[in-house]
Structure formats: C-alpha cells, structure tokens
C-alpha cells in the first residue's frame, strides 16, 4: 500500500529549510535505511533550493508544493512551482563541477543538478499548464 503526504510553502530560503525538515520528519516514520534517508534529504534540498533561487528570481515569489508517494519499492517526490519553465524546457545535464582547476577558480556552486542526478534512481520533468513538475525517484526497501 502506498503512503502519500504533501506540504506547501512560499518559496523562501527559511521556508525551504522548514519545509524540507517537515518532509524528512514524516519520512522518519517509514524506516528508510539511514544512508538512503540522507540521499533523499540532499536531493530534495537541491531541488527545492533551485526553485527558491531560480524559478522565482526576478519576479514575485510563489509557492512550492512537495508531494511524497511511498510504495514498498520506491519513493517518488514531486516538487511543483509556478515559475517560468526550466531553460530550454528540459532538465540540465548536471555534469560534475570541475575540481581539477586552479585554486582561484575552484567551484563554489554548480553542484546541485549533479547531486540530484547522482542520488536519484529516476528523474522526470514536465511542464503542466503554468507549473513545473519535477519528480525524484528513490529506490527504497521499506521494512
């Protein structure tokens, strides 16, 4: 049987922190393995931060909604916002940041999509009406 729950909040950095914490608190009840729990938190945080930093930049902020659907094998997390579509209407490639460069050019960002791609087992993006739907999938074994 699948478990579902959702939360939504206005896209600010502080709300993102408490929204992510709330989702993780709910997921605590489902006995995910500790490492997978950590993966979910990292990928979810990167996805939500992207919305806060990019989707609503240059305009009034809006809402983010996070929906979780947990089945015995998979956890799907859908993150939606009402900002403009992703550039070119598709998911960024998420290449790893180059760390072999000189000291002064060591990257201070650009890790987000790479981490999301590394930590999820499936990733989907859809533009639906006026919203962005990003779905992250994690393989889980729920005892």
């Amino acid at each position: 049987m699948a478990e579902t729950f959702a939360c939504s909040f206005t896209a600010t950095e502080l709300n993102a922190r408490s929204g992510i914490s709330e989702v993780m608190k709910r997921l605590r009840d489902f006995d995910l393995p500790e490492e997978r729990f950590g993966d979910v938190q990292i990928a979810l945080a990167e996805a939500v931060n992207n919305v806060v930093e990019h989707a609503y930049s240059g305009g009034p902020t809006g809402d983010i909604c996070i929906k979780c659907n947990l089945s015995p094998q998979e956890l799907w997390i859908e993150i939606s916002d009402f900002g403009p579509p992703l550039p070119y209407g598709e998911l960024p490639e998420g290449l790893p940041a180059d760390v072999t460069c000189s000291f002064d050019s060591l990257p201070e960002g650009g890790f987000g999509w790479f981490l999301i791609r590394e930590l999820t087992s499936d990733l989907k993006y859809q533009r639906q009406n006026d919203s962005n739907l990003l779905s992250l999938c994690f393989a889980v074994v729920v005892s």
Binding site: E13, L14, A16, R17, E34, E35, G38, D39, Q41, I42, A45, E46, N49, V52, E53, P96, A97, V99, F103, D104, L106, P107, E108, G109, G110, F111, G112, F114, L115, E118, L119
Partner: protein, 112 residues
C-alpha cells in the same frame, strides 16, 4: 550562525555550532568565517562534527572560506558526519580538502 574558535598546536580550530550549513545560512557562514580567520595561524581546522546536513550552497561556502584564506594558509576539515562526507565525496571536493575523521586526528596530523 555560531562559530567558535580556539587555538591548539599552532592551528586555529573553528567549530560550527549548527546542525545545518544550508542555503539559508551559506552567506552568513562565509562572512563569519572571514571574521573568525581574519588573522591567525596559517592552518585552520573546521570542526564539522555537529553538522548533520550540508547542501551545495553550504559546500560552496566552505570552498569560498578556503579561498578567502589565500594560498598561503590552509583549511582542513574535521569530523564530518556520514551525510556531510558523502556530499564532499560525490562532488570530489574530498580531493581538494584534507578530511579527518575527528578533531583529535586533525590536530595530531599537523605535520602532513
């Protein structure tokens, strides 16, 4: 953001007294690191043992803190929790920083 700072064996130890270094505190962290390390020993050890979670903004802020120390000083990291260690490993930032399992290990490894 709360950072506290002490000195041991010629190194400055900066302890992060927070559970998260995330997007909401990354800028503050970078500024506080600048204040804490404005002057002092060439080696700075950042004690991360209280930090349960870091995101890419937090990681970027630690890289920025290292860069603002300059090439002649060094930022080492001590006591990363498994999740923090994983973010460093995945982004290959573990090849840029010395990561020590504990603060004691970091302090006693001062010669390397």
């Amino acid at each position: 953001m709360s950072l506290t700072s002490t000195k041991a064996d010629g190194a400055q130890i900066v302890t992060v007294n927070a559970e998260r270094i995330d997007a909401a505190m990354a800028i503050q962290f970078k500024e506080d690191m600048r204040t804490e390390t404005e002057s002092g020993p060439d080696r700075v050890i950042l004690d991360l043992s209280s930090v349960q979670f870091i995101d890419s903004s937090g990681l970027g802020a630690i890289v920025a803190a290292m860069k603002q120390l300059g090439r002649d000083r060094r930022l080492d990291l001590a006591g990363p929790t498994p999740m923090v260690e994983k973010v460093f490993r995945l982004t290959r930032m573990d090849t840029i920083f010395n990561l020590y399992g504990s603060l004691n290990e970091a302090v006693s490894a001062k010669k390397t």
